[in-house]
């Protein structure tokens, strides 16, 4: 039996970052909004407090904050001729669950994308020619976003001030400023807070890259460098470098999250209702299939409800946005054989993996004194900041010294050639633990016709619905890019004092057995052309205009950087257009 509830103006599927932003902006505009969150309610006090929050086994290893694989997994294969099998335990990427979503356990690494990222196809063809791009890989399916950096800039700014991002500006209105990132896209004003203190591993990296003539800058951070009150009146605190950030919630109110920046304000609104432990099964459509009538969900006691709504916002983890569209029959699923269809198309990821730099025993790195975004970085190899014309690939990576702690179950490096266990291994662990730096290479994932998401034909979730199936391997282009930069980073490792430098870089095939990145992107991409995008430039579904799919599922391919700021900027951009245009005259905001 399904209980039909009173209609509301809008419902969000998920109450993480984008769900909270939608809730706040629409309730402010006078709309009644219901937020449906599959996980539990949780808050800084009492849920994230010490000492329990500093538990490496529970949070890093057993992944207590992540989507429960028992109930919902994802199946995976490298190529469409293989049988996809369930990812029975998360390793490669970690979708969060619970109030606040992945924006609770994120690190706070807070970059903007670059100007060229949003016009990627146009930019590459303009600079290198169509033939060059085709030679990089005929399977590559890069495309423009349908929105430009200049259009998004005010929304990046608004989002940075919501979070209180701490950084040193490198480019204000085109003027290059010392101390910041000279490759930064132009910003309209400075960061709301100054950069974080530089760590020792950051300072050592700075010495190395200075010698090589690169351009170091402090990583922009949503772990705050000083107490800050955001425009909603939320008070955040100074980060204390406890070393438990990635995969953890912040006990100190020092990491920007929905809990520290939006939710306490939103939950006071009489126009908002939060319902936790509610699993949405599908978006319901009317008999024309072009209008959503609401959603059907099941609560934690197994009771089924229908929540009618005038607008439906899919605000889940990016790949779960795609699954919700597929389960609801919204948009034409992508078929890799014909190239037709759009839902699931252009799934992309991130290229990661840097070298391990083994230092002299006299150097105490003390990486356990750290935050989630403690890096000193260079952008000399990011995106298209370097000339690719003789390199035979597109894309790039930032390089940085970004150790988000040194928690010992995960981190006890030994130099190449050390036995995997036994006395010699133990001696090497004791010798190198506090005298080793992991460098990061982190960058673009080029979209490809071969990589996509669809529904698995065999495996089901706890509610009997098909799991999402991921077909993915890194295009050769991305391997060439990563390996080229890996050589450069080995040079940096030596320049910063590495006695032994174990080379990094990405290799094929992609495997889900070790952590790489939780920046899964694409699958419900934005654009100007309904034949190559699921949503228009305002994240509105082409086929069902009262459904909006927010977040990184809209990225046509992934850029160099950690993507949270771009998600926030896009969400504000879309909500602004919805408030200005859609609410006055509901219907498609872009006509083709």
């Amino acid at each position: 039996m399904t209980t039909r509830l009173a209609p509301v103006d809008a419902v969000t599927i998920g109450v993480g970052l984008t769900g909270a932003m939608v809730g706040h902006e629409l309730t402010q505009a006078g709309l009644k909004v219901v937020g449906l969150e599959r996980g539990s309610a949780r808050f800084t006090v009492p849920d994230f407090q010490a000492p329990g929050i500093h538990d490496e086994l529970r949070f890093s290893i057993r992944k207590a904050m992540m989507q429960d694989n028992v109930r919902e997994a994802v199946t995976f294969r490298n190529t469409s001729d293989q049988v996809a099998l369930p990812i029975r335990r998360w390793e490669s990427f970690l979708p969060g669950t619970g109030l606040g979503g992945s924006f609770v356990h994120w690190n706070g690494q807070s970059f903007r994308f670059q100007v060229a990222d949003f016009i990627y196809r146009t930019h590459l063809i303009q600079r290198y020619g169509k033939k060059f791009l085709e030679a990089c890989g005929p399977e590559l399916s890069v495309q423009d976003w349908g929105v430009t950096y200049d259009e998004l800039e005010p929304y990046y700014d608004k989002f940075e001030y919501l979070l209180g991002v701490s950084g040193t500006a490198g480019n204000i209105k085109g003027k290059i400023l010392s101390g910041g990132n000279p490759f930064e896209a132009p910003r309209s004003r400075d960061y709301p807070n100054p950069a974080m203190k530089e760590t020792y591993f950051g300072a050592l990296f700075r010495r190395g890259v200075d010698k090589l003539g690169y351009h170091p800058y402090p990583q922009p951070s949503a772990n705050l460098s000083r107490p800050y009150t955001n425009p909603l009146g939320m008070k955040l605190e100074q980060c204390v470098f406890c070393g438990f950030c990635e995969r953890y919630a912040c006990e100190h109110f020092a990491k920007a999250s929905p809990q520290t920046t939006i939710l306490p304000v939103l939950l006071k609104s009489p126009n908002y209702e939060l319902r936790t432990n509610c699993q949405v099964l599908r978006i319901n459509l009317d008999n024309t299939g072009t209008r959503a009538t609401g959603v059907t969900y099941v609560d934690d006691a197994g009771r089924e409800f229908e929540q009618p709504a005038s607008m439906v916002y899919i605000t889940a983890f990016p790949i779960n946005n795609v699954r919700m569209l597929l389960l609801s029959g919204i948009g034409k699923p992508y078929d890799p054989r014909t190239g037709q269809g759009v839902v699931g198309r252009n799934y992309s990821y991130q290229t990661t993996g840097g070298p391990t730099v083994f230092l002299d025993e006299s150097i105490n790195v003390n990486a356990f004194m750290s935050s989630g975004a403690p890096g000193t970085m260079i952008d000399d190899f990011s995106g298209d900041n370097f000339d690719h014309s003789k390199l035979g690939f597109v894309g790039g990576q930032y390089v940085g010294s970004i150790m988000t702690g040194a928690r010992p179950i995960e981190f006890h490096p030994t130099p190449p050639g050390t036995p995997a266990w036994g006395s010699e291994w133990k001696r090497a662990v004791a010798r190198h633990y506090n005298h080793t730096i992991l460098l990061q290479q982190h960058g673009t994932s080029t979209s490809s016709r071969l990589n996509y998401l669809d529904l698995d034909p065999i495996y089901k979730d706890a509610w009997g619905l098909p799991l999402l199936r991921m077909t993915f391997d890194f295009p050769d282009n991305d391997i060439r890019m990563s390996q080229y930069i890996a050589d450069k980073v080995v040079e940096i490792g030596h320049a910063m004092g590495g006695k032994v430098v174990a080379r990094g870089g990405t290799r094929r095939p992609y495997a889900v057995t070790h952590y790489q990145s939780t920046h899964n992107a694409g699958g419900a991409v934005m654009g100007d052309d309904p034949s190559t995008s699921v949503v228009n430039r305002y994240l509105q579904c082409w086929d069902v205009p009262n459904v909006f799919s927010m977040g990184a599922s809209a990225f046509p391919q992934n850029g160099t950087y950690n993507y949270s700021m771009t998600i926030g900027a896009l969400t504000y951009w879309a909500l602004d257009a919805i408030k200005k245009h859609y609410l006055k005259s509901p219907g498609p905001m872009v006509h083709t």
Partner: protein, 254 residues
């Protein structure tokens, strides 16, 4: 509420302790009296392993992370006790493990695809090992023979009752490392032995005043989760971040 004291924590973890009261290492001999007492008090009791299974596990982890002249190893850290508790509890029963079939062998990149929970996997593999001639006498073999046997498990992929030996070895090694390095509240890493060995200070709440003192040698005892919940960070910069000022040994003057 004042948190559990260091002494009572060690008593607590000791009460769940391993069956072997090993000789103390140099480091442990120099440790506070309370530590030595609790280790010696540890009763010989397992929740999950049979005595025969426990004998194999103890002998195996003693080779994976051996004791040396300077530091205790997996036995001294209570790793068998940790593994026993993990397998007896929710993780052993398949917590956070997608368990629906069909089960098929996958590519290495597709990860674990066996139908066994960790508890089932250990039971199956340990039973099969006991049917092998060198497995029967494992705990009585010489260290070099034990190492060769473990290498065989690691590299051979031979069948252990449906469990490939390398998969069993990977599980054993992962749990051994967890038991050696995790917080002592889980029954391993007794007296924070591994943390003292590598210089990890544990669950201190703040390094704000230290993070830019580049290269200092932090010389203070590590702290467990169970030790002192009252050392919470204060946000006011005029209030010291930690109750006890750390001893700073050496700065980086370069």
């Amino acid at each position: 509420m004042r948190a559990i004291s260091r002494r009572s924590l060690l008593k607590l973890t000791g009460a769940l302790g391993a069956t072997v009261a090993a000789p103390l290492s140099v480091a442990e001999r120099s440790a506070p009296q309370a530590v030595a007492t609790s280790a010696a008090d540890a009763p010989h009791r397992y929740s999950f392993f049979t005595p025969q299974e426990a004998a194999f596990i103890q002998a195996a982890v003693a080779r994976l992370i051996p004791r040396d002249g300077e530091w205790g190893g997996a036995i001294e850290a209570g790793v068998p006790n940790y593994i026993d508790l993990q397998l007896a509890g929710a993780w052993g029963a398949g917590e956070r493990l997608y368990r629906s079939g069909p089960w098929r062998p996958g590519t290495p990149g597709q990860g674990y695809q066996l139908p066994f929970t960790p508890a089932e996997l250990f039971k199956k593999a340990l039973a099969a090992i006991r049917t092998e001639p060198s497995g029967q006498a494992f705990e009585h073999a010489l260290p070099a023979q034990q190492d060769a046997f473990l290498k065989g498990l690691e590299q051979e992929m031979r069948d252990l009752g449906g469990v490939p030996s390398n998969v069993f070895f990977d599980h054993l090694w992962q749990l051994t490392q967890e038991g050696f390095f995790s917080d002592p509240v889980y029954g391993g890493n007794r007296d924070m032995l591994s943390w003292r060995m590598i210089g990890f200070p544990g669950a201190y709440a703040s390094y704000y005043d230290l993070v830019d003192q580049h290269g200092i040698k932090l010389d203070r005892p590590p702290m467990s989760l169970g030790e002192d919940a009252s050392q919470h960070i204060h946000h006011d910069p005029d209030i010291p971040a930690v109750l006890v000022a750390p001893r700073i040994v050496k700065g980086d003057s370069r």
